[in-house]
């Protein structure tokens, strides 16, 4: 087994393990740490795919900023272990079978469409890395309006968070 396959399977295993831990953990802080594990292994997979910039952003923004925000809120609200409750009738008789069906369908079609494409093209992922220069040229030419719109979005998010979280003293 060659090195890329080894890296892929180790990281994929860690990612799936982290996602399972997120589901099985009782304490929210354990779920948060499991999610950090998933994000870091996904960043390694982005490196394997040659997307260096996305891997760096994944570490800095997701595993850094967003998860610190989550851990901070868990600490602030002193969130303990969650209490178990019974499932509703809808979840038991409609939700669960439909959910399992969706998962099977999703896996089936993703696998088959990807396999079909590879046979048609006769190619797999290129191993060369994506040029960050090319990506930023595209970001500031073709996608410059969405890029500027996201800055407005972040401004609105900051204002929204401030308005929502402020304490009503008066």
């Amino acid at each position: 087994m060659s090195l890329p396959f080894l890296v892929f399977f180790v990281c994929a295993g860690i990612a799936v393990l982290g996602a399972l831990l997120l589901i099985l953990a009782k304490e929210p802080i354990h779920s948060a740490l499991a999610l950090v594990l998933v994000m870091i292994s996904l960043a390694v997979l982005y490196l394997l795919l040659g997307a260096e910039f996305i891997a760096a952003v994944q570490i800095i923004v997701y595993a850094g900023a967003i998860m610190v925000l989550f851990v901070f809120v868990i600490m602030l609200l002193n969130a303990g272990s969650e209490e178990r409750t019974d499932w509703s009738k809808m979840a038991k008789y409609a939700g669960l079978p439909l959910g399992i069906f969706l998962l099977l369908e999703l896996g089936h079609w993703m696998f088959h469409s990807a396999i079909g494409k590879e046979i048609a093209n006769g190619s797999v992922a290129a191993s060369s890395s994506v040029s960050t220069v090319e990506m930023s040229k595209m970001l500031f030419n073709q996608y410059v309006f969405p890029f500027e719109a996201t800055s407005v979005l972040i401004l609105i998010a900051i204002l929204g968070a401030l308005v929502l979280a402020k304490r009503d003293d008066q």
Binding site: S2, P4, F5, F8, A12, V16, A19, L20, L22, I23, P28, S31, V38, L42, Y46, L48, L49, A51, I54, V57, Y62, A65, I66, L69, F70, V73, I74, L77, A79, E82, E83, T85, A91, G99, L103, L106, G107, M110, F111, A114, I115, E118, V124, A125, A126, V130, M135, M138, L139, P146, T150, L153, I154, A157, I158, G160, A161, L164, A165, R167
Partner: protein
């Protein structure tokens, strides 16, 4: 040097998305449900990057960038809502936040 086929990444993405949906449905803590949403966004990002490599187009990577930005904004506003809900209800269990339940 052989490379990993795209279908492997897509299957991993589907598995992670499915686990995110399961966590979203099964968890009872509102913060953990937010984490499940982040997990699903990560799974979709992986599919985006994999398809961008398969087609050798950079548009997918730009979209991943935008998804990450929107996820950051969503986490900020969402966690502010969680704090407000906790101040009003003194609970994080979604079973007890059921005013809109029918």
């Amino acid at each position: 040097m052989s490379v990993v086929p795209i279908s492997y990444y897509l299957v991993l993405s589907a598995i992670l998305f499915g686990l995110g949906v399961i966590a979203f449905v099964f968890k009872r803590n509102i913060i953990t449900i937010f984490m499940a949403i982040e997990l699903m966004l990560n799974a979709v990002n992986l599919a985006f990057v994999a398809f961008a490599r398969a087609h050798n187009q950079l548009d997918g990577l730009v979209f991943v960038f935008f998804v990450i930005v929107v996820a950051a904004a969503e986490a900020a506003v969402g966690l502010a809502i969680v704090i407000t809900v906790y101040q009003n209800r003194q609970t994080l269990n979604i079973e007890r936040i059921d005013t809109l339940k029918f």
